[in-house]
Symmetry: C2
């Protein structure tokens, strides 16, 4: 049972968003800027980073919803998302994204785990300053969202609920999650 | 050396804030709402939670600046902050804050580490829903800020720089850190 009231039975992060709209606003604006704002990484690539970090943090709700959003955004390559979750190094994604996923996995363990070599490797595969910055902040932000969702023992919906959530996140982004 | 450009030589999180003002805005608004907004926890108590989580994450910049902010806000009890960092259970703070620090330490390890027993104990010492919510989110947010600061290898100023930073954060809060 959730550690704070959730009278409407909302799934995952939407429970604490309804409980505390003042913090929901910057949390949603951060997600929108990072995952949907102007970037040389596609929204699908950014959702893959978010889903991958959420899986490393064992957050069922965030992994389920962001993997579903990535699948919805990458309709032409349906197997890509699951391949990354299984083994990023062997997945059919660019070498640049693979190098950024190495940085994201280091951030998940702790900020000091990111090495000069990891950053050099990402640059060698074409990553620029903004892509490196955004990868670190997406990974760091999901270390927050994941802890927020699980630290409050929010409601985890069944597996079959995520595909529709993913389509909604792919179509509408994150600002529509701010409580009115 | 920082992984992204920092031409003005700004300390800690201010480097990436200047590099990417679009994300600085929600990051500062979140900190302001959590650490300075209306709450039954004092700003000093909330800065103690932030500094404690930053110490657990071994983030020198965030620990230094938020411990200094807490010291500035708790002028009448100067030794409190260092006592909490050394051993929260033995520190001269309320049993409620001690119980909330146990929750914060669990969140630092991972969201699933927060137990019903920890929440029950915090409630038994007078913590309400909003205090439990905010403790989880402050701890989760500092797991993000700490990773952002260290994952980009930002500039760590010398020890003597933090007292002035703490006084500024105590007086002005976080919205003044958003790049113009």
């Amino acid at each position: 049972m959730s550690h704070i009231p959730n009278p409407a039975g909302l799934p995952g992060i939407l429970g604490p968003f309804a409980f505390r709209p003042e913090t929901a606003k910057p949390l949603c604006e951060l997600a929108e800027t990072l995952l949907r704002g102007p970037s040389s990484l596609t929204p699908g690539e950014r959702e893959i980073i978010a889903a991958y970090v959420s899986r490393l943090n064992e957050c069922t709700f965030c992994h389920g919803s962001h993997a579903a959003a990535a699948r919805s955004l990458l309709k032409d390559k349906p197997g890509t998302v699951d391949a990354v979750m299984k083994d990023p190094a062997a997945a059919p994604v660019s070498d640049k994204l693979k190098a950024l996923l190495v940085i994201a996995a280091a951030v998940q363990k702790g900020g000091r785990r990111v090495t000069d070599g990891m950053v050099k490797d990402a640059r060698a595969h074409g990553a620029g300053d903004k892509e490196i910055h955004d990868t670190v902040l997406i990974a760091a932000a999901f270390c927050m969202y994941n802890r927020y969702v699980d630290g409050l023992a929010t409601l985890t919906p069944p597996d079959e609920a995520y595909a529709a959530m993913g389509d909604m996140l792919a179509a509408d982004g994150y600002l529509s999650s701010v409580p009115k």
